[in-house]
Amino acid sequence: MESKTLTDVLREHPFLEGLKPNHVQRMAEVALEVQFARDQIIFREGDETSLFYLLVSGKVALEVSAPGRIVRIQTLGEGDEMGWSSLLGHAGKTFQARSLEPVRAIGFDATRLRQVWEQDPAFGYQFMVRLLKVVAQRLQAARLQLLDLYAPRGVKLV
């Protein structure tokens, strides 16, 4: 990540903006830098990886496999977070993630993050409030997507 330290990159990431310096430092202690080439499958639906990511650059598509096809649900980019279901201790990933272009990210082992939060619940609360905002935004976006806003009038999704 150029000459910036991992802590610098985390401090500048929109998801962690405003987080206390000691909390950012705790994040950095369990973080690792990762890169993905274009068209790489980062994780598959059902994978039991416990990694949560903050994207630094590049674009990732979240996909669902349906019989005979793959449906691209959403894209994530610079400043976004990915793989949040790991933080809840879920067994498997709910989507497949594929890099659409070279991607740089910071990965966190969710199990270790949860241990940190158990030792410091105030930090855990701060993090979960941020995460809930992200989840709420994605839920709202998914609802809007369901409305099929740009369909010609009279065309109904039934």
Binding site: P14, K59, A61, I70, R72, I73, Q74, T75, G77, E78, G79, D80, L100, E101, Q137, Q140, A141, L144, Q145, L147, D148, L149, Y150, A151, P152, R153, G154
Partner: protein
């Protein structure tokens, strides 16, 4: 068909001008750009970005259509039409040389004077990009009058994206950010997937120094406004293009009434401060 291809212009009602079709170009599977050639009439192609015309297909019907061309090219009138019904079908199936009736231009325009010296954020959904394109043309011709231009554009799918060449060209310009997203992307689509509001994560807005111009389905505009409010953009800097069932275009018939306003006469471009009380009224 033969009657409308005759050399002599047809007899039209008062205030309507017969104009020949110069070309019809397919933009997407259901959307076409119609160019009219108002020959001989001094200033007949003049309009302000955001205004609309009433286009009459003889024997079929009359439609309000936003002008989507370059306001500095007064020799032509350009309209982008989505073919969804009898009259729009007839319009997009016009042949070059055919006559159509034109009334207008009508209505209010985008606040390009007020936006001078500011960043400009344009948010368009679906065919809502059409009435915004003249404003973009204007700002690009007077580029020094504006700071950053940001265009967020959402469409249903990649095959529904309008003006692909324009989008690609604008994206290459300095201080111009063009982000496009689709609700449903296929595996060959490498751009963003998601509703247009998700693109706000990738732009940096300066409240108090940004003018927002929005056009798209009303629900989309409501959610776009929420994003702008989250980012503390003052209501007074937000402008919308409203769509209602416009018939007479001069505020007589009442078909397009929205609260105390007639969209055809008082709009279609409104400051959000005037529209705010009416946007979430279920009865309207």
């Amino acid at each position: 068909m033969s009657a409308v291809l005759t050399a002599a212009p047809p007899v039209v009602p008062p205030h309507m001008t017969p104009v020949r079709v110069a070309s019809v170009v397919k933009e997407t599977h259901d959307t076409f750009t119609l160019t009219l050639d108002p020959q001989g009439e001094e200033g007949a192609g003049r309009f302000s970005p955001g205004q609309f015309s009433m286009l009459y297909v003889f024997g079929v019907g009359e439609l309000p259509i936003s002008i989507s061309g370059d306001p500095h090219d007064s020799g032509r009138l350009v309209y982008t039409v989505r073919s969804v019904g009898k009259a729009t079908n007839a319009l997009v199936n016009c042949q070059p040389g055919q006559w159509v009736g034109v009334r207008g231009p009508f209505g209010t325009s985008w606040p390009l004077e007020q936006a001078r010296g500011n960043d400009v954020l344009i948010v368009a959904g679906g065919i809502g990009l059409a009435p915004l394109r003249p404003a973009i043309h204007h700002m690009l011709r007077h580029r020094d009058d504006y700071v950053r231009l940001m265009l967020l554009y959402g469409a249903r799918s990649p095959k529904d994206l309008l003006y692909r060449k324009d989008l690609a060209g604008w994206a290459r310009l300095p201080d111009t950010q063009v982000l496009t997203t689709v609700d449903y992307g296929g595996m060959n689509w490498r751009g963003y997937v998601g509703v247009v509001t998700t693109l706000f994560r990738y732009v940096r807005l300066h409240p108090g120094r940004t003018t927002a111009m929005i056009c798209g389905p009303e629900i989309m505009m409501r959610y776009v406004i929420r994003e702008l409010e989250k980012r503390a953009l003052p209501d007074a800097d937000i402008y919308l293009s409203m769509e209602r069932n416009m018939k007479c275009a001069v505020g007589f018939c009442g078909h397009c009434q929205l609260g105390p306003y007639f969209v055809c006469k008082d709009g279609p471009i409104f400051p959000y401060t005037r529209m705010r009380p009416w946007l979430e009224k279920h009865e309207l």
